[in-house]
Symmetry: C2
Subunit: 386 residues, 2 copies
Amino acid sequence: MKKRQIAILGSTGSIGTQALDVIRQHSDTLEVYAMTAHNQVELLIQQAREFMPDTVVIANESKYELLKEALSDLPIKVWAGSDAIAQIVEAEPIDMVLTAMVGYSGLQPTIHAIQAGKAIALANKETLVIAGELITRLAKEHKTLVLPVDSEHSAIFQCLAGEWENPIDKILLTASGGPFRNFSWEQLKHVTKNEALKHPNWNMGAKVTIDSASLMNKGFEMIEAKWLFGVQPEQIQVLVHPQSIIHSMVQFRDMSIKAQLGMPDMRIPIQYALTYPSRFKSNFEPVDFTQFNQLTFEEPDTNRFRNLTFAFEAIRQGGNMPCILNAANEIVVEAFLKDQIGFLEMSEIIEKIMQSGTFVASPAYEDFVETDKETRNKTTVILKTK
Amino acid sequence: MKKRQIAILGSTGSIGTQALDVIRQHSDTLEVYAMTAHNQVELLIQQAREFMPDTVVIANESKYELLKEALSDLPIKVWAGSDAIAQIVEAEPIDMVLTAMVGYSGLQPTIHAIQAGKAIALANKETLVIAGELITRLAKEHKTLVLPVDSEHSAIFQCLAGEWENPIDKILLTASGGPFRNFSWEQLKHVTKNEALKHPNWNMGAKVTIDSASLMNKGFEMIEAKWLFGVQPEQIQVLVHPQSIIHSMVQFRDMSIKAQLGMPDMRIPIQYALTYPSRFKSNFEPVDFTQFNQLTFEEPDTNRFRNLTFAFEAIRQGGNMPCILNAANEIVVEAFLKDQIGFLEMSEIIEKIMQSGTFVASPAYEDFVETDKETRNKTTVILKTK
């Protein structure tokens, strides 16, 4: 049997390294054709030596020589720059592209991969947040399969197996609630970067961990769910479920609900996308219900976690508003990680930016590029006045 | 569109009346072709006048004249006797047979319906408990769809939609634990019929309610699951879940679990079977997770609820042993409902009967008839010495 050829965009990140662990366990059926990284050249070298891909790409061009030199004894092609990433995904032998880079940078290569007819294992949720309408339309035109990797969307996708003819009544999008679930407004004001980086259940990259603490991640996931599953925002109910065992649920119109559960281990949804529609046996831990003997639910508090409301408002308005939301968020998260602003200031700035952004009702790709640039500049200016 | 023609065996029971409520809500697509009852002739007359089936059958032949007379102004055929029930299911226009009678009596008409190529909506779990190997083989031979109606097996079946190529790693069969979940051995000795008939979550017939209180129902469901889903007894884990919101779960070999949830309303699984593979909108209540905000799990206590162990032992031995288990259980439940024996005595007698039963390794239909008769006689004799 021909091995499934995979391109991993963002192989040195949290999703990328876990995807490589999955591929390592199933090297009889899965193979890495290309791997790309933003900046972590040392880890990329090590990964390339182990997985022997056809091509590696480093986005940061200043690291090119180092990478090239380190792999010079191997028959691996070495490229650099973000245009090279957008190009490599089009290579003929590639079957599936795992988009696991951070933020806005995922948009362009995802579009290229869809246009080249590659199946997408979508871990970069910002792609759909920014340009859900465009991506969904392109995927339809090119008959491309978009498989969600986010644990919640993988859960929903798994629940929909065999049910595509049955309309969704409601999506129950579960949320751990993050490390600050029970913090008061006053406490939230003073939380530190290190506290925010300690997620109670999931081990993830810095950006998504901060987004989880601020519930922006859940807001983005609402937008992502709208595009992936063709539902209206009103059909998505966010449900705080602190144990992170139920990864999301779908209610059908007969009031029957299907849920997907598992340990909070991203390798399970990553593997499901990489091996879809098969399920492979791996070394993943099963849920022990005598240990996880109490699963609880509560409503999210949108007074303390205002980002959920902003995300809902952004999908409601549509157009380039989710792109504005995303760009502002990327800048304020960076600022928070550099201790330049406090935790609650992130939402305050996002609110201002959304109110003053230039609205484009039916944006094309170029409008997203423009909106992203403009919003980043404006947000940076506001940060400088702090 | 041609309406789906349904035969309801046991229309006056709990499942039967709820099935009629479903059909009432979807009279544009579902139609009752035949309805049968054991003894409740007054209710059968009322149902026949409302649903206007082609044929009605009363098992108790002494009620035939009364039924015939009451429907004499309508173009409804009236039959009587259990052979007539086994015959009517073969009628050409019938698409699906809902087997909702109690106990052993379901076996013969189910076999006839399968041989006539009718889809089966199986609510009579005793059929599979007694003769799972035979029924499964016949269904395969006749390419007959067997759709489970039991909420747990419907849940498992729903979880398997779109997953039939993926092997089951484990079934997590949930159990409410019944009204006596936290009772001590001493308390169990003295429980009354009326206490046992009050199920905390489900509104069901008397026989299955007592079986739920004694956990024999869960034991039967293990056997049923083995035959419906082709798993080994060791792959079935019974999990006490007192809220009865998760109706069961399937773990796949990637340690991903799918669950089906819903309010404890039998109309949901009944409708799923009747309208399969579609899901129809009805007046069913959705789960409100702000109310059911805590789902809990615990291991069953097989020291207090020994029937679970007997059921496991019966599947392990196979042959006619589950038939012996079922017949003994039917007799002791009747005796308990007549206040002839105590709650714990039911298990004691079943244990004795299983130890002294005549074992047949590869029983044919006639062996089941013989085993059932012999076991009932032996159990009745033991009861007389009490």
